[in-house]
């Protein structure tokens, strides 16, 4: 049993209190430790991803208690890929926060950042539904602090909405867990996968309610329409690096849906049939449409990016809701793309803010360093809107291809293509208002103090854009890997038997016992 799999949870969990207790007043030391921690996490996550890339399932039994009784951490291809994506995103977000000085505008940025990483990686690695709830809470508690980092009335008000909505979501999660436990007597995902199939067809009322409740909870996290109302305000008002890190949080919801609804309630299970194609797919299509219309309708750049996140989550959910191996593979490819592109756009919107009075989409006098920012915005917008040559285009093609041959192919193709057109219009309008129209405005008589973003900020954003480029160039390899991953998800027997049948302390009958 390897201990490395718990390191992505333990390392930030130790680093965060250390930063609070020992380096409270030394921003330099905090930065060094935070960066070193994230770099170490990248190495560990890459090692884990490499270790499971041959199809093995890593199992970690805490205190050596066997699965249904003890808590387990499980690493397979999907969870290690998500952990790797999280920590790589965290590196660039952290570089930007340091470069732009966001981390100095309030206390405890780095400690909360580490707790947030602990929650996210824990949610990806856990093999237990109640532990998933606990890690959701860990990441939410840290995100409440990060969300209102640096204060301000608008931010606090958005923070209240964000916290309340998520508390309601957590309460729903507990109701779902209670009904699952009452029906099956276990909360371990692998054990559940076995027990749910044993429920007779006449006794499925409780488990069906639980499955729908659980889907609702994850849909809140993934901001699927009509449960998306918390996202635009809170992402737009959150500090830019925090909003960029939040780009992975919606994916936690998507991950949970993929995990639970391929393993515990697979599409061919009679109990929950109709849940995906009848409910989830239309909701996903509507969120794709609403997100992209929101991009066109937004009056501020940060709102525009927030709506583009909703739209791209809609695209991910469309692909997931197909619940075919091709659909899941496309969704996973698109998840990586949309996380990187969304984070890059949030950081770029902060670059635009530097030197401008506000982020309103109105022509304002040109500011220092616009050319580079405009170039980065161009690249980010192309990626998010799904134009060639960047990975958004390839991801969209994969989704369209996966939808081909299903019953709803006309709807999927129509919504995806029309909403792409609308989002292209929205991004083009925003870009021309922000950057081109600026030159038609008279320069103010008294030139304001020239502020330009630091080089490190550009390095962080450029890093994300170059990762997107790499995601495009190596699309074949990445999609090949996500295809294997989807195949593993649709054959969960290895996962289930690894988790449930591995003996632990007190579980194996000794000889002659």
């Amino acid at each position: 049993m390897t201990h490395w799999i718990i390191a992505p949870i333990i390392l930030p969990a130790l680093l965060a209190p250390f930063i609070v207790l020992a380096a409270r007043y030394h921003i330099g030391i905090q930065r060094v430790f935070s960066l070193a921690g994230v770099l170490a996490l990248i190495v560990i996550a890459a090692g884990l991803a490499w270790q499971v890339s041959d199809g093995t399932v890593l199992l970690y039994q805490l205190s050596d208690w066997a699965a249904p009784f003890g808590i387990v951490l499980v690493g397979d291809r999907l969870s290690t890929l998500m952990v790797l994506l999280t920590v790589i995103l965290a590196l660039f977000v952290l570089l930007y926060a340091i470069g732009s000085g966001w981390d100095e505008r309030g206390r405890h940025f780095h400690a909360l950042f580490q707790f947030q990483l602990m929650g996210i990686t824990g949610a990806f690695l856990t093999g237990d539904l109640f532990n998933l709830f606990v890690f959701f809470e860990v990441l939410l508690i840290a995100s409440y602090g990060l969300m209102i980092h640096a204060g301000g009335n608008a931010r606090l008000r958005a923070g209240v909405q964000y916290v309340l909505f998520n508390l309601i979501g957590s309460t729903l999660f507990l109701f779902a867990l209670g009904s699952i436990y009452a029906e099956t007597g276990t909360l371990n995902m692998a054990d559940l996968a076995r027990r749910v199939t044993l429920i007779g067809p006449e006794e499925t009322v409780g488990i069906r309610v639980a499955a729908v409740l659980l889907l609702l909870v994850f849909a809140i996290k993934a901001a699927v329409v009509p449960l998306h109302f918390w996202l635009p305000s809170s992402y737009a008002e959150a500090p830019a690096p925090v909003a960029a890190l939040f780009a992975i949080m919606t994916k936690v919801g998507a991950y949970a849906i993929i995990r639970v609804y391929t393993m515990i309630f697979p599409p061919d299970l009679e109990v929950t049939s109709g849940l995906h194609d009848f409910w989830l797919l239309p909701a996903a299509l509507v969120s794709l449409a609403i997100g992209m219309v929101g991009v066109l309708a937004a009056k501020r750049l940060d709102r525009l990016v927030a709506f583009s996140i909703i739209g791209s989550m809609g695209m991910v959910m469309v692909s997931i809701a197909l619940f075919t191996p091709a659909g899941i593979a496309a969704a996973l490819y698109y998840i990586v793309h949309s996380t990187l592109a969304g984070a890059a756009l949030f950081l770029i919107s902060d670059l635009v803010r530097t030197g401008r009075a506000n982020l309103d989409l109105t022509p304002q006098p040109p500011v220092m360093g616009t050319a580079l920012t405009a170039g980065l915005f161009f690249a980010g917008a192309i990626a998010m809107a799904g134009l060639p040559p960047l990975s958004g285009f390839l991801g969209k093609l994969l989704v369209l291809d996966a939808a081909f041959g299903t019953d709803l192919v006309v709807w999927v193709w129509a919504v995806v293509l029309i909403s792409s057109l609308i989002s292209i219009l929205g991004f083009a309008r925003a870009g021309s208002l922000l950057f081109w129209k600026a030159h038609s405005i008279e320069m103010p008589a008294e030139p304001t103090e020239a502020v330009r973003p630091t080089a490190l900020s550009y390095v962080a954003v450029g890093g994300l854009i170059s990762l997107l480029t790499a995601h495009t160039v190596f699309a074949g390899q990445v999609h090949g890997y996500t295809t294997i991953m989807a195949a593993q998800l649709f054959a969960p027997d290895t996962y289930v038997s690894t988790v449930v049948d591995t003996p632990g302390k007190l579980s194996e009958p000794k000889e002659g016992y």
Binding site: I148, L156, G159
Partner: protein, 118 residues
């Protein structure tokens, strides 16, 4: 007893949802507290209701109550208690800062008016 527990959960949930729809910070937080009480009792009941039975192994005992929901409830209580404290603090900060305890977004022109007055 099942009826009493079930109706208690139902009444708490109904009251909580009603208060949460009031869209002012204080009633919403109260409604959220009621909802968390409801969910705590619900979780507790998810291991079946057993009266006067120990949760851990004892001699001469044949009936046990399920100990796992009690552990789950304990976790849920701690988390919801802490979260309520956090949301009270953030809500108080937002109220003191903007002199407005609405949870939902107000129309923007109204906001400007109040800002102009204050």
């Amino acid at each position: 007893m099942e009826l009493i527990v079930a109706s208690a959960i139902g009444i708490l949930t109904a009251g909580g949802i009603y208060l949460m729809l009031r869209l002012r910070t204080f009633p919403v937080i109260l409604g959220l507290s009621l909802l968390t009480y409801a969910v705590n009792v619900f979780l507790f009941a998810s291991g079946r209701l057993t009266i006067g039975a120990p949760p851990v192994l004892r001699d001469d005992m044949t009936v046990y109550t399920d100990p796992l929901p009690q552990a789950l409830v304990l976790t849920a209580i701690v988390i919801s208690f802490g979260m309520t404290a956090v949301v009270v603090m953030i809500g108080l900060g937002a109220f003191l800062g903007s002199d407005d305890d609405h949870v939902d977004d107000q129309p923007e022109d109204e906001d400007e008016q109040t800002e102009g007055q204050s």
